[in-house]
């Protein structure tokens, strides 16, 4: 294998050939180095980034002229809270006991509700509603209240400290109504599953 021999070192450090870039006189294991000037665009961008860094730092942390992430967040939160209030009122205006009773008889709505149930609810209540982590939905017992509206409210608002999250944040208004309609139809199917929990409530009222 060829290995170059040491070239004796000499000062001056750089020679300036007429037909090419300046070449450093040293060689390391045969490797030579040109001494080309720094590309102009490189120096320029480097300086611009440094200037940007200084301005950015001063603007945000010396002058405190910009909004902080918390300022921005609080503004967004206020805006969101307003929207949520409007949504809550709109959804509340659409639902009552009689409406839920009607919905539970509408095959199309119940079918749609069953689809939502199959996507979101079967993890805890199982595909036929017999329950596992969550209660059995097919018996005549209810843990939170007794009416159809109580079922809707439980779905929408959830149950604190349980896997029953507030589905009002997850599902659109129609999905909430339809999945409630579907759950209402499960009452009394008595699929063998999780033992009854809550109070015996019988069938729904008129």
């Amino acid at each position: 294998m060829s290995v170059t021999h040491a070239a004796p070192e000499s000062v001056p450090e750089r020679s300036e050939p007429a037909d090419g870039p300046p070449l450093m006189d040293h060689a390391y294991d045969g490797i030579r180095e040109y001494d080309n000037p720094l590309p102009g665009w490189w120096s320029l961008i480097f300086i611009v980034t440094i200037v940007f860094a200084v301005i950015y730092g001063v603007y945000f942390h010396v002058g405190h002229w910009a909004k902080t992430p918390d300022d921005k967040y609080q503004a967004q939160l206020a805006d969101w809270t307003e929207k949520k209030t409007i949504r809550d009122q709109a959804e509340a205006a659409r639902v009552d006991e009689a409406g839920l009773a009607r919905n539970a008889l509408d095959v199309k709505l119940v079918e749609h509700g069953a689809k939502v149930f199959a996507q979101k609810c079967v993890g805890c209540h199982k595909e036929d509603g017999r329950g596992e982590i969550g209660p059995n939905l097919t018996d005549r017992f209810q843990m939170h209240g007794a009416t159809r509206m109580d079922i809707y409210r439980t779905i929408r608002g959830g149950v604190p400290s349980t896997a029953m999250i507030a589905w009002g944040d997850q599902l659109a208004a129609d999905e909430l109504l339809d999945v409630a309609a579907f759950v209402i139809t499960l009452r009394g199917k008595n699929v063998p599953g999780k033992a009854p929990q809550g109070q015996a409530v019988g069938d729904f009222g008129p």
Binding site: A6, D35, P37, F46, A53, Y56, Q170
Partner: protein
């Protein structure tokens, strides 16, 4: 002057080279396995081969085994020649075998779940000590070469090697400071915000000084060798070396934008990252422009093809990095696969292709036989290049898709994708493309390994080790040199100041250390000293012994690889991780003061868990750990049924609590005297609760209870603080 001779030790280079290829193939195959696990969760084979345990094995193997051994091969080959001296054979052997033993220990302990849970610093304390010892051995060997050099000035490659050796030592030691609580269990001495800061100071500079500077050194030696052209610009090399070394060190906090890290630190991380763009590109320019006048060779020569693509990826990654460090971009990209795309562009493109370019140049020289097949080398190049493109593009798409899905609200203020799972299942097709890209890359590596093997087969019976005629050692010629200098000074203008440093390795090393330490100190000292950075929250209390052990399970299973514990001050996050229609409090620095180590995570393959406590009942957690797809259809999480079987080692709790107490966690007298009483009581209460929820009996001594206790604690303390003030 009498003529002296030296023989270079190429046997050590051959050893490191073989290790590079073997460990590289293994590390990348583990990576492919991890990639497939995200598309096919059944490939998680518990308890030892789940994603949470294999991903650290993948990252450690490719960083420390593949890139590490590759870097050592490059350094031993080039430094001996640049300094015209032989490496010390005993130290080289200790370095080689010690390093391989460390890698083997990593390959065994990580699947066993022995981990510090800090990314790329997972290895437990006994292995950390071994790493420090072997690294120092390497350093002594290297500095002995500098001392015994027969070339007065150091070439730019050696500057980069010096920066690597001293900085990696500093990073490794400080980030791994920990209190042992057993042979393979320790707690970081830092907590929360400070631990996060130290970890990403380390993590980012591991990228800088383990995956960048040594490979720039490699480039400066092997590229001009292969191209047979002079390096483009000596003065550019000076400028980009010093600016890179000084600026890189500041950039770590860009991994922690919008977290509980103080804003000023985050800003420093960002602006220094932006300033780092051109220093990085200085290296790229010096690489690519060195090829001026040699481009026709690139078409012929696979070595140069690898180098050109590697340097191009370096340029791309070092533009992408500063871009991702800009806070508003980071708000979208952080915790997503965009980061995965970014690191693999650097790892597969820059590091991988530099290594393979070097290998193809080296093997005919090391094995003293012509390369078996140039054509196969070209095929390796093309297959691997296509592999990288598929990998990076699919992960860009996945990252941006998920980031946009997380933040999407509809007009009524409802999250468009409130179910986290929807944002995961959407990515599965992209995970398949990524796996294909990775498989192609590995195919290339295996083709390369075959090519190397065939070349090795054709080696001569004994390797020729030529004697090289060299000038005397600089230190022995010192007197003569001094004399010469006096004459020089009289006859010639003095050397430029940097040129003089190049002739003084110790001065050069000290200056490098000063650059690195100064920059670090500017960030580290205020982070630790200014109390305002971490305002105390009265309701934040230490974990109970049972929760502490549950946290150790969380650490052991590597949950942090997929789950963050950091709600950023963004509406989509506080709404997503809120409860009962009320947005969560975003994460505050004071919440983490007992978190040794911090568990903020860097990727959300699963949802954030900072506000998990009280979101679900205990039975849900139990069923979810047992079979995630039962409770969460479509989930890609591994199943952990062994947690329902394994018993809580109650007798180990005291040493865990005591180690935390040593770190200043204020436990009461009762717990310090007997931690098991409290743990058994809490476990009993929780398992009774499970039964009332319809769960199984007899869980009071199982690991699952401790893990549930921990998960149910997350975010609870700060909620009490909020309740108290209202």
């Amino acid at each position: 002057m009498s003529r002296e001779t030296v023989r270079y030790d190429d046997a050590i280079v051959r050893k490191f080279l073989t290790a590079t290829v073997v460990w590289g193939a293994i590390g990348m195959l583990v990576g492919l396995w991890c990639a497939l696990q995200l598309a096919v969760p059944d490939l998680n084979i518990g308890p030892y081969f789940t994603f949470g345990r294999l991903r650290p094995l993948h990252t450690n193997a490719v960083i420390f085994a593949f890139a590490g051994n590759g870097m050592f091969a490059a350094i031993y080959y080039s430094s001996q020649r640049l300094l015209k001296t032989r490496a010390l054979p005993t130290l080289s052997a200790i370095h080689f075998w010690g390093w391989q033993a460390i890698i083997a220990a990593a390959a065994i302990t990580l699947p066993l779940g022995f981990t510090q849970a800090k990314e790329y610093a997972e290895l437990e304390w006994p292995i950390d000590i071994a790493i420090a010892v072997v690294w120092v051995t390497f350093a002594v060997n290297f500095f002995a070469m500098l001392r015994n050099r027969r070339e007065k000035h150091m070439y730019v490659a050696l500057w980069f090697y010096i920066a690597t050796i001293v900085t990696v030592a500093v990073l490794h030691i400080f980030n791994n400071l920990a209190i042992p609580a057993g042979l393979f269990k320790s707690y970081s001495i830092f907590a929360g915000v400070q631990d996060a800061f130290m970890q990403w100071w380390y993590g980012h500079n591991a990228v800088a000084f383990f995956l960048t500077t040594p490979f720039l050194g490699l480039m400066y030696y092997f590229l001009p060798k292969a191209a047979e052209r002079p390096v483009f610009s000596y003065r550019l090399s000076i400028l980009h070396f010093w600016s890179l070394v000084f600026i890189y060190i500041w950039a770590g906090p860009h991994h922690l934008h919008y977290t509980a890290l103080p804003q000023w630190a985050s800003t420093l991380g960002m602006i220094f990252s932006v300033m780092l763009w051109m220093p990085s590109w200085g290296g790229m320019i010096n690489g690519l422009l060195t090829l001026r006048g040699a481009w026709h060779k690139v078409a012929e020569e696979p070595v140069l093809k690898f180098f050109v693509v590697a340097i191009t990826f370096y340029g791309m990654s070092t533009f992408e990095g500063p871009m991702l460090s800009v806070k508003s971009v980071n708000a979208l990209s952080h915790y997503t696969d965009w980061n995965i795309a970014h690191v693999h562009g650097g790892a597969l493109g820059w590091v991988g292709f530099m290594v393979f370019g070097m290998i193809y140049w080296l093997i005919p020289r090391l094995y003293q036989a012509p390369l078996y097949s140039k054509k196969l080398a070209s095929i390796h190049f093309w297959v691997a290049t296509i592999g990288i493109v598929l990998y990076v593009v699919s992960m860009w798409a996945a990252g941006i898709t998920q980031g946009l899905m997380w933040r999407a609200f509809d007009a009524t203020g409802r999250l468009q994708y409130p179910d986290f799972l929807d944002t995961v299942t959407r990515l599965i097709p992209m995970y398949w493309v990524r796996a294909l890209g990775g498989a192609l890359y590995i195919t290339g590596v295996l083709i390369g390994a075959y090519n190397i093997y065939k070349t090795w087969k054709a080696r001569p019976a004994t390797y020729e080790e030529p004697e090289i005629e060299v000038p005397p050692m600089i230190r022995e010629a010192k007197a003569a040199v001094k004399q010469e200098r006096v004459l020089e000074r009289q006859a010639q203008p003095r050397e430029h100041i940097h040129r003089r440093w190049e002739g003084m390795p110790m001065v050069f090393t000290v200056l490098t250390v000063v650059a690195v330490i100064t920059a670090s100190a500017f960030e580290i000292i205020p982070t630790f000293l200014i109390g305002d950075n971490v305002p105390k929250i009265a309701s934040v209390k230490p974990y109970t012994p049972l929760e502490l052990y549950g946290r150790d399970i969380y650490i052991k299973e590597g949950c942090y690889n997929c789950h963050s514990q950091m709600v950023r001050p963004f509406l989509d996050e506080t709404v997503r991780y809120g409860q009962g229609g009320v947005p969560a409090e975003y994460s505050k620095p004071g919440e983490f003061i007992y978190d040794h180590p911090f568990q903020w995570g860097s990727k959300r393959t699963g949802p954030d868990l900072a506000r998990e406590g009280g979101r679900r009942d205990e039975l849900w957690h139990l069923r979810h750990m047992e079979e995630p797809r039962g409770t969460s259809p479509g989930s890609v999480m591994p199943a952990y049924p062994h947690l329902l079987e394994d018993r809580i080692p109650f007798d180990s709790l005291q040493s865990r609590v005591d180690a935390m107490a040593m770190l200043g966690v204020p436990y009461g007298k009762a717990i310090l005297e007997d931690a098991t009483v409290s743990a058994k009581q809490q476990a009993g209460e929780l398992s009774a609760k499970l039964v009332t929820q319809g769960g199984p009996q007899g869980m009071e001594d199982r690991d699952i209870i401790a893990l549930i206790a921990y998960l149910q604690r997350l975010g609870v303390d700060i909620r009490q603080a909020k309740g108290g003030t209202q």
